[in-house]
């Protein structure tokens, strides 16, 4: 996935010069300072200064889209008119009709049903990948940030190496060498994707370590682990949630991309990327085979992106998730 790959790199820290350039000047003009100052002087508390919060349309739109996709997917057994693997020789390669709202594929399977069930595969596989990635990444990031010293050094060197390694290629190598399959692809993705979380977590931990509440907890004699879990973790949750939401979209793109290449889901599993690759052979004749699965991926990722960006405004106003 082009976009996923680049985005993956985006969460890498900018090289030192960027930071230098970024800090060289204050951003706000003095006038804005004056206006905001005036606002702040207005005797309004900061919380009240954000007046009746405007509805965050990003979250609402993203949420609605996702709820729809999720609803369709979860209700697949009720909504799908056919079993996703059911082959009907006489009904093969039909365009959209009343009996088959999205048409049928070369084996006479109902694309509508497969799209619905395909969501289960795509979403659950990406969610699992995300969960594992998140756990490993946050744990290692906490460890690196909190322990410091050689532990930090070792983890960060590993991160450096993995960052210098095109992640999609790594996934390809793993899937190629160990045989295709959704699980292997998920593992392969996990092997690379934890890096971004480790980085974000580590930088947030380093930041949090400087802050009063952690210093206080430490002074009070709390054990490092309990500080990490009780004090630091809740503080860094916001940016992580934002990053996770955005990454889920990218994971869906990556996994469906690998399936498209034949490395991921295997038949008869309905999976959007795999369906697209089946549609590829017929795309000149029967566009319906590639339009609908592609549309589903697109809409789902769009929903996740909208939601993630909406959440960023709320949970991560400083943009730590994108900066780390």
């Amino acid at each position: 996935m082009a976009d996923a790959e680049v985005a993956e790199r985006l969460v890498a820290p900018p090289a030192a010069p960027v930071a230098a350039a970024g800090r060289a000047g204050t951003l706000a003009g003095e006038l804005q300072a004056e206006a905001t100052h005036a606002l702040a002087q207005a005797g309004l508390q900061p919380a009240v200064t954000r007046p009746r919060r405007k509805i965050n349309w990003l979250i609402v739109t993203g949420g609605v889209i996702l709820a729809l996709v999720l609803g369709l997917t979860l209700a697949a057994p009720m909504l799908a008119p056919y079993h996703p693997a059911e082959q009907r020789a006489r009904e093969r390669l039909q365009g959209p009709s009343r009996a088959h709202p999205m048409g049928t594929d070369r084996l006479g399977r109902d694309i509508y049903s497969r799209v619905l069930y395909g969501g289960q595969t795509s979403l659950s596989a990406s969610s699992i990948a995300l969960g594992v990635t998140l756990t490993i990444g946050v744990a290692l990031g906490l460890l690196a940030g909190y322990a410091g010293g050689w532990v930090d050094g070792a983890i960060m060197r590993l991160v450096d190496v993995l960052l210098a390694f095109p992640s999609f290629i790594l996934a390809l190598i793993v899937a190629g060498l160990y045989g295709p399959g959704l699980l292997k692809v998920v593992l392969a993705a996990t092997a690379v994707w934890w890096v971004s979380y480790a980085r974000v977590t580590r930088s947030l931990v380093l930041q949090a370590k400087q802050e009063g509440y952690v210093q206080a907890a430490r002074a009070a004699g709390a054990r490092p682990l309990s500080i990490a879990v009780r004090e630091v973790l809740p503080q860094i949750l916001g940016p992580i949630v934002v990053l996770a939401t955005l990454n889920l979209g990218r994971l869906i793109l990556t996994l469906s991309g690998l399936s498209f290449l034949g490395m991921g889901a295997q038949p008869p599993t309905a999976e959007w990327g795999l369906m697209l690759s089946e549609g590829k052979a017929y795309f000149m004749e029967f566009q319906h085979m590639m339009v609908f699965p592609g549309l589903m991926i697109f809409v789902t990722v769009l929903g996740l992106t909208l939601l993630g960006e909406g959440l960023r405004d709320v949970l991560d106003p400083n943009g730590a998730a994108g900066r780390a």
Partner: protein, 530 residues
């Protein structure tokens, strides 16, 4: 007397009756139409562009599949060749005859030289065949006990202790390419263009392994001067990409396009579809060492459970035909079409499985025996994924849980097989050739395509019986007996005809598909009108 030739005379016609009606018509038109009508005045395009899915392994005919790949593009020849009708005719030889059942005499054409200029004389042929015998194990099997003797510069004797009725078939076989053994050296030397020294209408001028090959008209070719000056061969493994290459007009001859895109090609104004009922069937090979398949009844049940008509319709988009028994696609054996699994019989399959102890339990759709579910993995390669998917569904109906895995790349399957890590896979093989040799390869105890290593005393006995049979009809009957035994034992499950679809530019003249398209494709008369 020429046993091979006589037995295959009508093969072409018989074979065409097999496939769809249109298939044969296409083939004939392709072969005859343009040749008769094309005006000689038409301008010839200098370059013929060809696309093939298969890796072009190398330039040494003793390595990999190089022999057939080289022959296919007109860059190599044998002493004899197989005609379109399935007969045998001389190629580098000028004539051949049986002196007695244990001895054949072969006369060579005069004035034939390798690319290097070395004459193709009896000495060169002996060297070449001996080198093949030393380096290619199957060639060693074929030539077992055969002595090759140089009588004079243009005469050779082949003789053995035992009768060798199938020698012409052997010599015409794709693996015995005549090459300059001196130039290649004692070891396999696949990639050195300088060492390559062969014969044929075209000679290779540039070679990028697995990518492309350039050929030019061979100025010293002994036959008619090729009308095309150059051939550009691209290797494109992805079937959809090959279709695009054909439709865009970039290539004049595209081998093995996806049946899925057949309709698109048929509608094209610049390209036509040429179905070639190749001498090959796709079968599901099962691993008898796996507990699921050790019982013959399970294998039989799986064979009965296949709806081959549906397989043809769904997986091949209709471009194929059902094959009920192993020799059922071979026009030499019309009787074999009535043997074996001529229809789907789910009741019988279920009964066989029940008898074998694989039973359905309440609440489960998967059969089990001693608590172990009937579960296996079916591997696919090339364009066989839909085939695997349909089989998966058909076998699901009798309570088998089939997992499907694969890749268009043949290496995927090779790897699994090399590891011994396979339950079942799909592969296609031809049956053309001397029955004793072909059959022992597939079902003999030491046969290299006997993947499951299923050793059956009855089959062994039948195979051994070939030694005493010199009459072609007797050998045919013996082959049919082995075929029947095969249908009972089911070491692999015959499924469908392997029908090769080629996309051919309408400007390509004299394209005349051979039933062995992976051996004979390019010939001197082939040309593209500008």
């Amino acid at each position: 007397m020429r046993p091979g030739a006589s037995s295959r005379v009508d093969a072409g016609i018989g074979r065409r009756a097999l496939g769809r009606a249109g298939v044969g018509a296409f083939g004939l038109l392709a072969g005859l139409g343009p040749r008769l009508t094309a005006a000689q005045a038409e301008v010839v395009e200098e370059e013929l562009r060809m696309v093939t899915p298969r890796t072009f392994d190398g330039l040494d005919p003793t390595h990999g599949f190089s022999a057939s790949r080289l022959r296919q593009v007109g860059a190599a020849e044998g002493l004899l060749r197989i005609t379109r009708q399935g007969g045998i005719e001389p190629e580098l030889a000028s004539s051949y005859e049986m002196l007695d059942p244990t001895m054949w005499r072969v006369e060579l054409r005069p004035d034939v030289t390798f690319w290097s200029g070395r004459p193709v004389d009896a000495l060169a042929v002996v060297e070449s065949l001996e080198r093949a015998r030393a380096l290619v194990p199957f060639a060693a099997t074929l030539l077992a006990g055969v002595q090759i003797e140089r009588i004079d510069d243009r005469t050779l004797h082949f003789w053995s202790e035992q009768p060798i009725p199938s020698l012409p078939t052997t010599l015409a076989g794709e693996w015995l390419v005549i090459h300059n053994a001196e130039s290649y050296g004692p070891e396999v030397n696949s990639f050195d263009l300088a060492a390559a020294d062969l014969t044929g209408p075209f000679r290779i001028t540039a070679f990028e392994p697995a990518v492309r090959v350039f050929l030019e008209r061979n100025p010293t070719y002994w036959g008619v001067r090729p009308r095309t000056a150059r051939i550009h061969l691209d290797v494109i493994p992805d079937p959809d990409a090959r279709t695009l290459a054909a439709l865009s007009g970039e290539a004049h001859l595209v081998q093995l396009v996806n049946p899925a895109s057949a309709r698109q090609i048929e509608r094209s104004r610049t390209t036509r579809l040429v179905p070639i009922p190749a001498d090959s069937i796709v079968s599901a090979y099962v691993n008898p060492e796996r507990p699921q398949f050790s019982d013959v009844r399970v294998r039989q049940a799986l064979a009965w459970a296949v709806d081959r008509e549906e397989l043809v319709a769904l997986a091949h988009d209709g471009w194929s035909a059902p094959v009920p028994s192993w020799l059922g696609n071979d026009p030499n054996y019309p009787e074999a079409r009535r043997v074996g699994y001529t229809r789907q019989d789910l009741a019988r399959a279920a009964q066989l499985l029940d008898e074998a102890g694989w039973r359905l339990t309440a609440g489960s759709s998967v059969r089990a025996k001693d608590g172990v579910p009937l579960k296996f993995r079916l591997l696919w390669m090339l364009t066989y994924r839909p085939l695997a998917e349909v089989l998966q569904e058909q076998w699901r109906r009798i309570g088998a849980d089939v997992e499907v895995q694969g890749s268009p790349d043949v290496a995927f399957l090779r790897a699994r097989r090399a590891e011994g890590n396979w339950d079942a896979f799909l592969e296609g093989w031809g049956t053309f050739g001397d029955p004793a040799a072909v059959l022992s390869r597939h079902v003999g105890a030491t046969g290299d395509i006997n993947y499951g290593k299923l050793v059956d005393p009855v089959t062994e006995e039948l195979l051994a019986g070939f030694v005493d049979l010199t009459d072609p009809e007797d050998r045919r009957q013996q082959a049919l007996r082995i075929n029947e035994r095969h249908a009972e034992l089911v070491p692999f499950i015959p499924l469908t005809q392997f029908l090769q679809l080629n996309a051919v530019s309408r400007r390509l003249r004299n394209y005349d598909p051979h039933f062995l398209p992976w051996v004979y494709e390019v010939h001197p008369d082939l040309w593209v009108s500008a």
